[in-house]
């Protein structure tokens, strides 16, 4: 636990040691608020639907930006050798990094609480869909993060890690959408659309919390974190 804490702290505060974190937060908060308030007063509805609607797309770019450095930087600078010759378990490092990235993403969501606050001031919103929406955002964000972090381990170039992260999460995101399912043979459509990151999010966003959706996101995180651990272990004993 102490080792996990050490990794978590190093990674989390590591974000704030570089100017990229501040640029990231500034752009994220600016963009989400702008996109939301652009139409908020026109719609005349006290709901956060449009906010939750744009997040899956924004996350396609913002989450890989959070995860790209996690392994690529260690590999590029060679610190990965220092790290894994310390007495740490791989799972402690992987979870420490993952939860630090998760915490950083939470900070950016926390800093955009301006959205629900102004919704509450402007009208009398239904809180069910808003809480459901946040749950969905955290779950989806976690799945994106696990994918992005796994991809970061495939290269020592952060830019490549970012682009690969965008491409792969985008791939998972559109898997369930009609564009993809339309061209597939009927019998595999349910399986493929179950794998899509987007579908599950939409149902949670409507305030319908289904254990299958939650299980889906948790298993996506589990699979990619496992792959991450596995690929590091595999590198070591190659």
């Amino acid at each position: 636990m102490k080792r996990f804490n050490a990794i978590f702290k190093k990674e989390f505060f590591g974000y704030f040691n570089s100017p990229i974190a501040y640029v990231y937060l500034f752009v994220y908060i600016g963009l989400t608020n702008w996109l939301f308030f652009k139409t908020f007063f026109l719609g005349g509805q006290a709901s956060m639907r449009s906010y939750f609607g744009i997040l899956p797309i924004l996350f396609l770019f913002f989450v890989p930006a959070v995860t790209m450095r996690l392994w690529a930087e260690e590999r590029k600078s060679g610190t990965i050798e220092m790290l894994f010759t310390l007495p740490v378990k791989i799972i402690e490092v992987v979870m420490g990094k993952f939860l630090a990235a998760f915490a950083f993403l939470s900070v950016s969501l926390f800093l955009s609480l301006s959205v629900p606050i102004s919704v509450a001031i402007a009208g009398d919103p239904e809180w069910g869909p808003i809480l459901g929406g946040y749950l969905g955002v955290f779950l989806m964000g976690g799945a994106y993060l696990a994918i992005g972090m796994f991809v970061s381990n495939l290269t020592e170039n952060q830019i490549i890690a970012f682009i690969l992260g965008v491409v792969i999460t985008f791939g998972f995101y559109i898997l369930g959408s009609p564009i993809v399912t339309f061209s597939l043979p009927n019998f595999i459509v349910p399986a493929v659309s179950y794998l899509g990151l987007g579908n599950h999010y939409e149902s949670i966003g409507r305030g319908v919390i289904d254990s299958r959706d939650i299980a889906y996101y948790l298993s996506m995180m589990g699979v990619f974190l496992f792959l991450n651990i596995y690929s590091i272990e595999n590198r070591k004993w190659r």
């Binding site: 102490k2 080792r3 804490n5 990794i7 702290k9 590591g14 050798e81 894994f84 010759t85």
Partner: protein, 309 residues
Amino acid sequence: MINVQNLKKTYGSFTAVDDISFEVKKGEIVGFLGPNGAGKTTTMKILTCFMGATGGSASIAGFDVEKNSFEVRSKVGYLPESAPLYSEMNVIGFLKFIAEIRNIQGDKFNTRLEEVSAVCGLKSVMNRPIAQLSKGYRQRVGLAQAIFHNPDVLILDEPTSGLDPNQIIEIRELIRKLGQEKTVILSTHILPEVEAVCSRVIIINEGRIVGAGTLEQLSANSHETVVAKIRGNEGAIREKLKAMPGVKEVLLRGAANELSTYEIQPDSGQKLNEAVFKVVADNGWSLAELRSEGASLENVFTKLTRSAQ
């Protein structure tokens, strides 16, 4: 303390480490010597559990590097080549991170920090970001990190590479000090380094051990040559010198006017200086200079690593 048996590491068809076996006893400072790309770093990466071996086995303090990797990593302090550090952290933050991972906290951390920063000379840079440090200081932070938990075994990969002469002397002094109570393996391709620091040498070339022993043992295999500057007829001198018992070869190094420099190589370990002088005196030549060229580690190294090619 360190036991390596038939260690082998291949990358595809390339063999980086080829059937290496050696042993390091407690309290020794062993120099791992070889040209670049000889397999020194690979061996060290296997010993510190960063890489797996393709064949053979290695153990440190009785723990197998593969099966008991966690214990090995707890016992060993390792400075990787060119000291990779988290450059966005400051020195104290970095050492705190290392200490936390190694479970050194509270008062113990404070005393260790005091000791280590004094030994490594880091007090003046404690709050500086690592990114701003000079190569010499980075190397010292790397060493501080390696010795923080007071390990019994230290593995240092080219600890002085890229440093200026003063820094090299400081780091060597430090390693020698540490070596009084620890087992140390350090790799280098700088020969004087080994002569200055190590009690024993393992020479490695193209993945194989080509020589091992103390400095005296290694030098004993290579014979002293005699260099003489003699005035007189060149042909006659060479002939007479060559005729001496125990002489393998006489080479002409250079000539100016009537004064020529000869290199006389013995065919065994015997000393030829006196015999050469006698020959010169008997023939009535004049001797301008007579000296022996020691069998330096450099000669041994060149001989061993060249002949293997």
